[in-house]
Assembly symmetry: C2
Homo-oligomer: 400 residues x 2
Amino acid sequence: MSVTFATGFSAAGVHAGISANTQRPDLALVVNHGPLDAAAGVFTANRFCAAPVQWTRDVVRDGHIKAVVLNSGGANACTGQAGLKQSEATAVKVAQTLTGDMQRGDDAAVVPIEEVAVCSTGLIGELLPLEHVLNGVELAASALGSDDQAGTDAANAILTTDTKPKTVRLSGSGYRVGGMVKGSGMIAPQLATMLCVITTDAVVDVEQLQSALTSAVSQSFNRIDVDGCMSTNDTVLLLASGASGVTPESDRFADLVRQACSDLARQIIGDGEGSTHDIVVTVSGADAEDAALACARAVAGSNLLKCAIYGNDPNWGRIVSSLGTVPVHVAAYEPTDVTVDINGVRVCEHGGAGVDRSEVKMDARQVDIHIDLHHGTAAATVLTNDLTHDYVHINADYES
Amino acid sequence: MSVTFATGFSAAGVHAGISANTQRPDLALVVNHGPLDAAAGVFTANRFCAAPVQWTRDVVRDGHIKAVVLNSGGANACTGQAGLKQSEATAVKVAQTLTGDMQRGDDAAVVPIEEVAVCSTGLIGELLPLEHVLNGVELAASALGSDDQAGTDAANAILTTDTKPKTVRLSGSGYRVGGMVKGSGMIAPQLATMLCVITTDAVVDVEQLQSALTSAVSQSFNRIDVDGCMSTNDTVLLLASGASGVTPESDRFADLVRQACSDLARQIIGDGEGSTHDIVVTVSGADAEDAALACARAVAGSNLLKCAIYGNDPNWGRIVSSLGTVPVHVAAYEPTDVTVDINGVRVCEHGGAGVDRSEVKMDARQVDIHIDLHHGTAAATVLTNDLTHDYVHINADYES
């Protein structure tokens, strides 16, 4: 499943001993066997981006990736030149190992160093135990498989504080899209918050891949709230093998990629650190999508609201006071026009009290907040989690 | 003390029964007996600003305030036209009561409605029990005094989740500046986060007052982190009676006002909801103060860092990953030049690991984080608190 759902890909997940504290698998390998090796990537905008991000951003620039190696147990971020050398050494090892493993004389089976992407996740500020990583690469190369289990193994090996693997598979007309993501809870930029690999056997070119991925990420991973913080390691890769021989209709393909990203993003929220509620904030009635999005982000980013939802309190005052911080030039509306529905109950009308909040049922995990600005027809949705004792616990004690 | 430290002012704090749940004093009155009645104000930028903010913003526009009435127990925010009528009715009652109490025939003793400021703090979205407020005004008017106790009573009557009153008094050459503030923890926009009244007996005109106040607020209350959220009710007023007869040197007066605001802002942080640490984030080496400020705000706003500090973990990775979210066009610097000192220990050097974090002592309440961008000479400091179990508890359960 996951990255092996599309044909033309093999994968593995092994225990390399990168973190001394766990017996969990911690190194994954994904190989594109072609015939195509087209690839696209989207990366964190954080200026302290990790060594593997710097490496992989260079690798994907020409639109070709043959293999991706991913490790948990260490982010290799803020590690300077030494960290960059580690990412490069890991890519070299993958290239050598795979090239040796594959049939000689077949040009396509040669894996050049500059077509190996590297992703890391874990603690910031420490170098990796490189010996363990390189041994892990050999282990993973010999464990490569293209069945469901191989994809699941890879999805498991990239987890950190995640409580479960997150994968997706979707079918187009004669081709497939599959993927895996690691998201250590919604708001954990200290860890490399999110690593994602999506594979397809459709016949698509690099421009089409990059355009589909950029659009999909902006509608999915960029609409789950990460507390205004970007991690140092966020990486989303989309690889095409072309093994199905099917050239998809362009819009339909972009749609599938968007669905895959949305599904995986939703799974990240569902596994948010310490969370007891998923919060879906939809703002409609805006005069532009950007305006709706800015409003939804402001509400989804409110610690006070997130605490209230944890307390099962449909506190609309905390919703409108967050909404009110969005400047007029970003989102035009009249405060006295605004309505707020929580789980279908109109608790705020004309910017003031509506139906009594005691009418709102808060038992379910999902809480739907719908804000209507009554100022236009554009809308946007942002997903977040509640802020809980367990979130504080996890993030106060993670080091120890 | 507090607002009665400067001559020419009287004050009172009484129990008006505005909140049914408490026997605490909940209504304060501050009266300027002149000869001047110059005033300046700074207000929340929240678009859902409360009725008393709308009222008082109009009142201060002409630069004259004779009395301020402040209540806890209800914010009168998001209460529409009915809420505005309540603020007006409260001002009317104050004007009538004070005018009746003061000597007739003395023009200066007449208190026009449009010179009465109104401030409210408490829950959003509910009207006040107006009867109780109006009765409270009568009680307070008959309790007015100009001694220390009267000032302390007023400072006590405006508290909500605060655990202690917050006051300041400073002396210039022949004149005085005093004040009180209510801050319900650092990040509590659901409550009317902050109400502040500062008084002086210096002879200063309205322009000078407003300029001193605007500058002081931008250097103090606007540099304590409120989680990107503004409350619906934030109000800072500066009143001058001129009773000392002393015209201060302009810069020196502005300095004193800034000191008063900084002292009160610092007290808000010291009483932050559920906090166990005060965090002082200083960014130096920037090419402009705005750049330094943007960086300091990004770091001070990180939930992950705030959780780490609660766990006594000097986690510099969470500092640089927050710093890295500030775009280049906002703050220019090279990540590899950045150093971070926590409580005097250089844990991050050249954007990577420095002295081992285990060297950092985290026992004291105050934690000093000093980030040097090594890119210029400008600096800025932002104060915040740690994020604790008690913060979540207070804000998840406040309603119940």
